[in-house]
């Protein structure tokens, strides 16, 4: 069996590991299709628990992929999340990487 050339493995190595985690991928996919969303909305849409979502949000915010914005609705503070330009770009690159990984894969 021939060894895979390093160039052939590059797309796999290029996958963004932060996005590649299923829960974070789900969060980013849902934020990708909206301008912004609040915590409750994301929780319901992704099916993640509050604690789980909060933990993933922190990692994504640290990486600069999402922005957390506080606004006031009436007198109550309200938190909205949105994908940053960097996050949007990273997500698109992730999608491209995944397509490249499976491109040309033959059916068995």
């Amino acid at each position: 069996m021939s060894k895979a050339e390093p160039d052939e493995l590059q797309p796999i190595a290029d996958i963004d590991k932060l996005i590649h985690e299923p829960a974070r991928l789900l969060v980013l996919a849902h934020l990708y299709v909206v301008e912004s969303a609040d915590f409750l909305f994301l929780m319901r849409q992704t099916g993640l628990t509050g604690g789980n979502l909060s933990s993933h949000m922190s990692k994504l915010e640290e990486a600069g992929y999402i922005a957390v914005e506080k606004e006031f609705v009436g007198k109550k503070p309200h938190t909205m999340l949105r994908l940053t330009n960097e996050g949007r770009k990273a997500f698109k690159e992730y999608v491209q990487s995944m397509k490249q990984v499976f491109n040309g894969l033959s059916e068995r």
């Binding site: 299923p22 409750l40 909305f41």
Partner: protein, 211 residues
């Protein structure tokens, strides 16, 4: 787990709009719009109240947001959906709906001696029925709910039927077309709202606090 962005977008839109308020307001808009057209096509001889319509149209967006803040967002959260008006939608739906009353007014005022305006008025329900297909297709595409194609079929069929029938005055046909269309949409929206409050009976405690 599958990631299909189109499906996620449709699911998100459906989820955010499940309160039925958009359909409710569309229903009210249709009734008012039909009445305004009836009044214009009758050369302003009917008693249809145009002023409330102007207020409704002007403040509809703000009113919807106020209602959603109190009723919808505390229950299901809030998302700012990307609302992009596609060029075909602007040309095929918004422009005809916006321009038809103006065109009819100008035609009635200045060209009624030259053109057979009665024929235009009589067949305007059929024409608008076809225009509304674009509106319902857009809704079906955004939500992924094919029921809106049923509304599209209804709008074409009822538009043609109303145009074939005779009314006195002829202009009454446009109101007869929009009244049941608006009524059906209103009831559809009401049904969605009832289902919504049964599914989410009480607002969530405010959990929009980042830990």
């Amino acid at each position: 787990m599958t990631i299909n962005l189109k499906e996620i977008q449709q699911k998100t839109y459906r989820y955010a709009q499940q309160d039925g308020f958009t359909e409710l307001f569309m229903g009210i808009f249709f009734v008012f719009y039909g009445g305004i057209c009836y009044d214009i096509f009758s050369d302003f001889t009917t008693d249809f109240p145009a002023i409330p319509f102007i207020f409704f149209f002007a403040f509809f967006g703000a009113a919807l947001e106020v209602i959603r803040r109190r009723v919808t967002y505390p229950r299901i959260g809030r998302a700012k959906i990307v609302e992009d008006i596609k060029p075909w939608y602007f040309v095929a739906v918004i422009l005809p709906l916006a321009l038809l009353p103006a065109i009819m007014y100008i035609t009635l005022r200045f060209f009624s001696d030259v053109w057979n305006v009665t024929l235009l008025v009589k067949w305007s329900p059929a024409l608008l029925g076809i225009v509304l297909v674009g509106l319902f297709h857009d809704r079906a595409d955004k939500t992924g709910n094919t029921l809106y194609y049923g509304f599209a079929v209804l709008s074409v069929v009822s538009g043609v039927v109303v145009s074939i029938l005779d009314f006195s005055p002829v202009s009454k046909g446009i109101f007869i077309f929009f009244l049941p269309m608006g009524g059906v949409l209103f009831l559809f929206g009401l049904g969605m709202f009832i289902q919504f409050v049964r599914t989410y009976p009480a607002p969530e405690e405010d959990i929009n606090v980042k830990s």
